[in-house]
């Protein structure tokens, strides 16, 4: 029940706020923060109760839901554990960050945020394809409200673009899910799925495109800058911190283990797009006049690294990607929070409006510097560990040419260029008269940032607790993608026979396997 409690406690918070919002703004905020913190504290039980020595799903709960193969089946493994914790960590941080920034419709805002948390947690925990899809889609609704109601001037354009883009991918994924359903003995259960599947290339693409849009992988990224710029601060934090990770999570949960042969086949194309994304995102980020857009494009670059590592076929690369998902959530989340903080003071996000803020806001300057350095991958902070593992793993992994790694490594130079240039223009130089009255961070804002800084340093100096918990689960994926050659032979054999017969046979053998497992 632990996992269900974590997932649905925020939803309970939504109901509580709905019932009690007459008590006033402070009460609403208090309930939201309380629920957020409580969820985080309970979710720590996942960490302590998690057994790092096994790759199987843990804390599993399974109940029949809809007859015909749909079950309420949830659990965590070393891959989803950290994304669940990242979500439960960032949500209360966001609630605290939004404390004074919501002018109208506060209760609706907090309700959306909590509902969003339930949706995101569900996505990471679902072990049933149908359930996964339900959570995947349901999380769009609160995000739609967050951007569409509390967003900036062009919020409607941005939010419609965001939703339609995602839904176009979802439609493909739905087809993929149904196809798997029929090949899996009419069951949506993820744990019973095992390939090779019919039309695995097409199925792979159906899933991959949906996830690539979410990541976003170049060239599916243009919804992201618009969504970020228009979203309220915490919307951007959640969007960058967690939502994008649903794409990379989907790749490692579905695309790689279910269709290893197709993954192998499309690797050259995908890593080309990933490397283009790294360089392109960095170059475009460099010339952005708007702080939020700059950070948004930097996400395109960072997530390119993650995708590269995922397809590296190496343990170091994939673990690096997993870690980098968390790192990006922390660092980019923190960047959006910081941008939000100066936006609240100055009501501008344009770089030209700033300069010399270091003098007026030394605490802000220090924190901003640390987060900037984390983002450009300075050793000793979290970003370096992930990036280094991804690049070293990709170089050693043999999954693709080393030329890709050379170009990706060049992204490390560009990251320094766009971040330090931005930092210089905002923080250094002489202070403009209009900015003279800007106050430094207050106690609440420092409290918002401190836990993030703690993790930024912790992961940088001692990432072992993080890596050791994911090692076994990542190992399973690595084994699957490394065994592509024999599996390919098997598939070829199958194709040579009558497809219908082959399908029946696959279904039969799978059925037998399941029965055998059930007996055990």
């Amino acid at each position: 029940m632990l996992l269900s409690t974590v997932i649905f406690l925020p939803l309970l918070g939504v109901i509580a706020i709905a019932l009690l919002r007459g008590l006033g703004a402070t009460a609403v905020k208090g309930i939201a923060l309380g629920i957020g913190l409580l969820t985080f504290i309970i979710s720590l039980g996942l960490y302590t109760g998690f057994n790092a020595d096994t790759a199987t799903f843990q804390l599993v709960e399974q109940k029949n839901w809809i007859p015909g193969g749909v079950s309420y089946h949830i659990g965590v493994d070393g891959i989803s554990l950290w994304l669940v914790l990242l979500t439960t960590f960032l949500t209360p941080v966001c609630i605290l960050a939004a404390w004074n920034s919501v002018e109208k419709g506060l209760s609706g805002f907090m309700m959306s945020l909590l509902a969003l948390e339930t949706g995101m947690l569900g996505v990471f925990c679902a072990l049933d394809l149908f359930l996964f899809f339900v959570f995947w889609e349901s999380m769009l609704i609160p995000m739609y409200f967050l951007i569409g109601i509390w967003g900036g001037e062009r919020r409607i354009y941005a939010t419609v673009k965001f939703v339609l883009y995602t839904m176009a991918g979802s439609a493909l994924m739905l087809v993929g899910i149904l196809a798997l359903y029929f090949q899996n003995d009419n069951s949506f259960d993820l744990t019973t799925l095992s390939g090779p599947f019919e039309h695995s290339d097409l199925l792979f693409l159906a899933f991959f495109i949906a996830f690539a849009i979410k990541v976003p992988l170049f060239p599916f990224h243009t919804w992201l800058p618009d969504a970020h710029v228009e979203a309220p601060t915490v919307g951007s934090v959640i969007l960058a911190g967690v939502l994008l990770k649903m794409g990379t999570y989907g790749i490692i949960r579905f695309c790689l283990p279910l269709f290893p042969d197709a993954a192998e086949k499309f690797t050259p194309l995908i890593v080309t797009l990933a490397v283009i994304g790294i360089i392109y995102g960095a170059l475009v980020a460099m010339v952005q006049p708007d702080l939020k857009k700059l950070v948004a494009y930097s996400s395109v670059s960072h997530l390119g690294f993650v995708v590269l590592g995922l397809f590296s076929k190496s343990s170091a690369g994939i673990q690096g990607s997993m870690l980098q998902m968390v790192n990006h959530g922390l660092s980019t989340g923190a960047l959006f929070l910081l941008v939000g903080m100066i936006y609240e003071r100055r009501h501008s996000r344009m770089i030209v409006d700033f300069g010399g803020l270091s003098k007026r806001m030394p605490i802000f300057a220090t924190i901003f510097m640390i987060v900037t350095l984390s983002s450009i991958g300075l050793p000793g902070l979290n970003g370096f560990v992930g990036e280094y593992m991804i690049l070293a793993g990709s170089f050693v992994g043999q999954a693709f040419s080393k030329v890709y790694v050379v170009f990706a490594t060049a992204g490390v130079i560009l990251a320094a260029v766009y971040m330090l240039w931005m930092f210089q223009r905002v923080m250094f130089g002489t202070l403009d008269k209009t900015n003279e009255g800007l106050p430094d961070l207050n106690a609440r804002e420092i409290v918002v940032m401190l836990p993030i800084l703690l993790f930024i340093v912790w992961i940088g100096v001692y990432p072992k607790p993080f890596l050791s918990k994911m090692e076994k689960s990542v190992g399973v994926v690595v084994t699957k993608v490394q065994q592509t050659e024999p599996a390919m032979g098997q598939l070829e054999q199958q194709k040579s026979r009558d497809p219908k017969l082959a399908l029946q046979e696959t279904l039969r053998t799978q059925h037998e396997k399941r029965e055998k497992e059930a007996e055990q």
Binding site: K161, W223, V284, V287, Q319, Y388, V396, T409, A416, L420
Partner: protein, 632 residues
């Protein structure tokens, strides 16, 4: 020597950083305390370094110990660990010794600065990072220190962050260094792919046994060492990545002395000496030596025409680093490191004396506005003179020994390299004494309001000058007496890869080489005397060559026109405006518009007139019937 000693050595400056960094607000009222906390932290490290050094010198075994697994998992283990051998010990003494004196000097120099505590926090952090760099027992840890010193360099160059030129210079330093790091990273990946580890001991043993994965066939080590060298080129400011170092003079002068002369910029030399085993096998040293000697010459020619005293020293540093690369490049690792040590003293000294001049001259740097400072600032003058004589290779001063060893070894490698090195030695003596004569001798050209305040620096500043001047004069004689049989060579003999030195086996007469070097140095000094003892450098360049040199070969302008501007404009117009907003979003919005358009067309069918619906129904039925009747 124990592990605990090394931990204390390393952590002391970190503690200093944390105290000044976190409690700077409360220390602000008492800047002396803040400064001495910083200096004391380094003193602790210095004492530990001396203990480690004496135990090594008395024959103790080098320490090589892993502290904990940093990034570990299936098939990879990157550890935090130390290695303290003779090479490390030498570096430790330089870093903490020169570092301590510069901290003390800074207490006076930075007096009254608004960012006093911040300065000492950064400086301590730098020492910490530099110690990691030389203490690590694997390449990744070296890289951690490497990036750490790069960060501190960035922060300290841009220390006066309200000044645009300072923050520009800091950013430039970081980015150019990152280009070098790009090579370092790829070099590390290659080594990791080949050896499955980044630990020095394992790599060197396996490399000597030829027992590793041939990632790039037979040229695996060639590629690895050259990629590492790219890192060294960035950090140690060699052609073509030297451009950041002259600009780095925007930082406070003690920073230039410590980071941009004595320690950080020599990290590249240290890295190659550390990897001596690999360079010996790969035979890539020749490329290192050539880059080194060309940089040495090239930078010296620029120094001939500059009028900013710190810039002259900066180009001189680039040039001297080139010598060090010649040393390690031709396989005379001990000689290269020896020059690193002597240079740390005399160049550190000269930067601090330049700081002393600036302190007295209200931050004036243009030597055309000085002259005759000798009488007003005697200690500064004498200590600077010692440094200049040392670098010019005046007989028996420190630079004489180390530079001569390098030139001598270069002769064994390639007479051409020796020749260029010798010409550079002449140029070095010339530009240094041009600086001396114009600044300290002749008529005073100091502006009257500045002249009235002209004074010798306080004792907290001049005592370190004297303490640096003594080793600048004597350390060469003490450590270098006997050439390749000297104490220094003896001490560093056991360092991996050092003993298989392939340099000139004392070919030719040692005394002859010394005489030639001395004559060349003295000739440079004499030539400078004839040109600048009475004259001041002209304001306008005379002739095309002079203009070319005065404008530093227009390298910055070329980089700007060929790299910076195209990347900036290309990213803005081509990538962002055209590809992103135009093409990709054009397609996205185009699809949306198309759907809307088609929907608009189809909408017209929904007229709401029942007659139209009935007619279309009937038509439809007729069409279906016709199809079934006639076509099936």
């Amino acid at each position: 020597m124990s592990k605990e000693l090394i931990v204390v050595l390393l952590v002391a400056p970190l503690v200093g950083f944390l105290i000044n960094g976190l409690f700077g607000k409360w220390l602000k009222g008492n800047e002396k305390l803040s400064g001495w906390i910083g200096a004391l932290a380094v003193l602790v490290s210095l004492v530990c370094s001396i203990i480690a050094f004496t135990s090594l010198n008395s024959g103790a075994a080098p320490l090589d110990e892993t502290l904990y697994g940093w990034i570990t998992g299936e098939g990879f283990a990157f550890n935090i660990g130390f290695r303290v051998d003779a090479l490390t010990a030498v570096m430790l003494l330089v870093i903490t010794g020169v570092g301590f004196l510069i901290h003390v000097y800074s207490i006076g120099y930075m007096h009254g600065d608004e960012g006093y505590t911040r300065y000492f926090a950064y400086l301590n952090l730098f020492v910490f990072a530099m110690l990691i760099l030389v203490l690590g027992n694997n390449y990744l840890m070296m890289f951690v220190g490497w990036e750490g010193v790069g960060l501190c360099s960035y922060l300290l160059i841009g220390f006066w962050y309200e000044k645009q030129s300072a923050t520009d210079a800091g950013k430039k330093a970081f980015i150019v260094n990152r280009i070098g790091d790009f090579g370092f990273l790829l070099g590390m990946f290659t080594l990791f792919a080949a050896f499955g580890t980044l630990d020095f001991t394992t790599i060197f043993d396996a490399a000597e046994a030829g027992n590793f994965q041939q990632v790039f066939g037979a040229s695996t080590l060639v590629i690895a060492t050259l990629l590492l060298f790219v890192g060294a080129i960035g950090k140690s400011a060699q052609i073509p990545l030297y451009v950041w170092l002259p600009d780095a003079m925007e930082g406070p002068t003690p920073v230039s002395a410590l980071i941009h002369a004595a320690t950080m910029v020599t990290a590249g030399v240290y890295m190659i000496a550390r990897s001596a085993v690999l360079y010996n096998i790969a035979h890539t040293g020749e490329i290192v030596a050539w880059i080194g000697v060309l940089t040495a010459f090239f930078a010296a020619t620029i120094a001939l025409t500059q009028n900013d005293i710190k810039r002259i020293l900066a180009y001189s540093t680039v040039s001297q680093l080139g010598y060090m690369f010649v040393g390690v490049g031709v396989g005379a690792y001990a000689s290269g490191i020896f020059h690193l040590v002597t240079h740390a003293f005399f160049k550190g000294l000269m930067f601090l004396t330049a700081g002393s001049v600036m302190h007295a001259m209200a931050n004036e740097l243009d030597m055309r506005k000085m002259g005759g400072l000798k009488s007003k600032m005697p200690i500064t003058h004498w200590t600077f003179l010692v440094g200049a004589l040392a670098i010019a290779g005046f007989p028996f001063l420190s630079g004489f020994w180390s530079k001569d060893e390098i030139l001598h070894s270069a002769w064994g490698g390639s007479p051409l390299i020796y020749g260029i090195g010798l010409i550079t030695a002449f140029l070095t003596a010339f530009y240094m004494f041009r600086l001396i004569f114009v600044t300290f001798y002749g008529e005073s050209r100091v502006e009257p309001e500045v002249a009235s305040h002209l004074h010798e620096s306080p004792s907290v500043m001049w005592v370190p000058l004297v303490l640096l001047a003594i080793p600048s004069a004597l350390i060469g004689l003490l450590l270098g007496w006997g050439g390749h049989e000297s104490w220094f060579h003896h001490f560093t003999k056991a360092v991996a890869g050092f003993s298989s030195e392939a340099h000139g086996e004392a070919s030719g007469n040692v005394i002859l080489f010394m005489v030639i070097s001395s004559v060349v140095g003295l000739a440079g000094i004499a030539f400078a005397w004839t040109r600048y003892s009475k004259r001041v450098p002209s304001d306008e360049p005379t002739g095309a060559l002079h203009r070319l040199l005065a404008n530093k070969y227009y390298v910055d302008e070329v980089y700007n026109a060929l790299i910076v501007q195209p990347v900036k404009n290309g990213s803005h117009f081509l990538l962002w405006q055209l590809v992103d907003n135009g093409i990709i979003d054009g397609i996205v919005n185009g699809v949306a518009a198309l759907i809307r358009f088609v929907g608009g067309l189809l909408r017209r069918l929904q007229t709401g007139l029942v007659q139209v619906y009935i007619v279309s129904m009937v038509l439809g039925i007729v069409l279906f019937l016709a199809y079934y009747l006639f076509f099936t």
